[in-house]
Amino acid sequence: MRAISWIAVNVFKESVRDRVPYSLVLFAVLLMGASYLIGQLTAGQDVKIIKDLGLAAIAIFGLFIAIFIGIGLVSKEVERRSIYPLLAKPISRPQFIVGKYAGLVLTLAANVAVMTLALYAVLAYLTYTESPEFRDAWDAPGVDPQMLKAIVLIFVELMVVTAIALLFSTFSTPILAAALTFGLYVAGHFNTDLRNFDQVVESRPAVLLARAAYHVLPDLSAFDVKTEVVHGLPVTFGYIGTTLAYGLAYITALILTSVVIFSRRDFK
């Protein structure tokens, strides 16, 4: 456990040194600029647009961090040959993989937390400056705690993407790993089409194959409740709980597969 936390802290420090937090500044500037510009461009609903923009920015910036740092977690150590002194230390290969993953999740958590605070700060300012009559027309309150439901699900989705990037990082080059991770991210958002394949195709084997792919590929569209939350529509804790449990189970499967691949890899 100590070795895992040691590796995780080092990955976090390395991410900070790689200037990942600068994305936060960019996010904050984007959000502040948008809140002013949108007021000039749209007729009402600026709070909706700021929420949409904020949640989308958290998802996009998080995706960039998850993919572009995730793909280098293992392959960079191999390229630099720093893997040899690392594995010579009393660190097992599973500890190395789990520690690397935990470190990147820590980086993501810090990023998402700061971006969430920035979003709530802009919404609080908007709520404070608008008249009560105007606020009454909003679908949901400006500073709405329900938005945390969407943010938690975005975070777990990013954890899944990180685990995918880590898996590909254990056996392929960074460019290929980025392409494969992004491909799975896109496929994961079309996953529900595979479930409903029987509505467009009659062939039984094709339907079974599609159903199998539906279960094997990550079901990322399930993590998207942004629209519901922004419009104040109900998102039950039961749905969130089962989706979180699905995400954690999928991450466990990916990490275990990464551990198996990495444990069998020969670095000679």
Partner: protein
Amino acid sequence: MTRAGIAGALLLAAVSLGAAVALQAARDARYPREQALERAVMYVRSGPALRRIVLSFDALAADVYWIRALQHYGGDRRAAQSGRRYELLYPLLDITTSLDPYFTIAYRFGAIFLAEPYSGGAGRPDQAVALLRKGIAAQPTKWQYFHDIAFVHYWQLRDMHAAAKWFRMAAEQPGAPTGWSRLRLRC
């Protein structure tokens, strides 16, 4: 690189940027570009197709299309009489509401823009009703949409019976103001 070299490079960069800005301004003044033609292009007309393309960012894409619809309406309304066409208004609103089916303002304001008689609006009350019906399909108990359809029938189509029917339906929805039932009687 020496300190003088860095200062020289920065100065040269600033001069180059200034020259680029001056050239851009001179070119725009001499060869004005036709903006109306650029504005009238819609590359993707299918809401469901666009919804797939934008992955999980459909609400944000809806915001972009809503702002585009507003700019299109405002731009055409402010244009000279001959330039007022509003030909992209309904497709833009249709895509906006396909990307975000709960976008209340897009349905309600959009219906006003469509129903308003030409040249203040598109003069298409039929499209206004179609847009609001789409809203009802997404949120079947939203009394505001029933009420807005009633108003389109009342003001633009002058169909009092249809207006009365829609006011009655609006009054029957949960959360509707109690005064609507009296409005129906006056139609």
